[in-house]
Symmetry: C2
Subunit: 208 residues, 2 copies
Amino acid sequence: MPPAKKSPAPAAPARPNSARRSEASRRAILTAAFELAGELGYAKLSIEAIAARAGVGKQTIYRWWPTKGAVLFDAFLMLSEGPDGDAELPDTGDIEADLKTVLRATVEELADPRIAEPMRALSTEIAHDPQLAALYAERLDEPVRELKRARLRKAQQAGQLAADLDLDVAVDAIWGPLLNRWLLRTGPVTTAYTDAVVETALRGLRAS
Amino acid sequence: MPPAKKSPAPAAPARPNSARRSEASRRAILTAAFELAGELGYAKLSIEAIAARAGVGKQTIYRWWPTKGAVLFDAFLMLSEGPDGDAELPDTGDIEADLKTVLRATVEELADPRIAEPMRALSTEIAHDPQLAALYAERLDEPVRELKRARLRKAQQAGQLAADLDLDVAVDAIWGPLLNRWLLRTGPVTTAYTDAVVETALRGLRAS
């Protein structure tokens, strides 16, 4: 995305726009948290490091977030609400090809430590923090899950998937094996694997 | 299991059996680590607490294990090598019923914090530690995975599952959704859910 044009300088000195400054600080903090989680890993991530990278004081961060886990969660939320946040899943009419495309893209993302490390950090925070998990389920997992269900629902309406399919079970059948293998590192995360998972899952999900 | 019979006292004072004492300390430490991980959660688990519960000095633990994660890993290993360690999966001839039985038992275990909390702790350590993950894959995951593959192979040989099935993909299709939902808390972990997962997966895995 090209950088936005700068606004022309105001004709007369204006009072500082503190709401806009706050928003700029908030975004700088969240961007720093995401980047540092990728560079350092979650264990070494600290409020101090985030503050230094974002160019704000530690107290600014503590005023808005109680823990580094909470900062990272909001960083994911900011990213998920970005320009691609409400993207639909691809729909070429071929559900198998479309799911393979989506899972291949995920395999690529997971191979990039700048994305994978913050995701590992968030995943393990969620595993140990039921309150964060409830927030995650509602605000991050559910919107993405609805996009997945919507694509499967279309395939169902086209007669490509069984009419009595539980769409949540179907989503888990397609995405669960990959995420579990990646997080617990029980096998290689490759596009050959995700292609096989999609083919196997679809054999079970198809209209018979 | 009934406790093993005590050996009769030796006729003459023997030299202390240091190998046996070491083994007793090792088991006390591993048992304490597992129990405390369940009671306190991994974040609050400490070498100090394990030493106190096991009745040994901290240095005894540090002599054998570098970190609390390493202790907990060996605790899981000890349990997996126990009397039930090499148990086969049930085989009534009905693969669907047998898989439902196994997954229902897992749902019950996961509802017990004395088991679930140490499992969460181990899972998140693995997520962040590639070396521990490699040990886990080889020494804990692989032996259990082989039991699962063996049961699926029998069903395959009986013509109940597709002959060209990739058994690792099949194992992930059956166990991956449950483990991922449980660890990331994205939905309720119930036997109704695991029954639906088994039914859906088997529709994809069956011989056509």
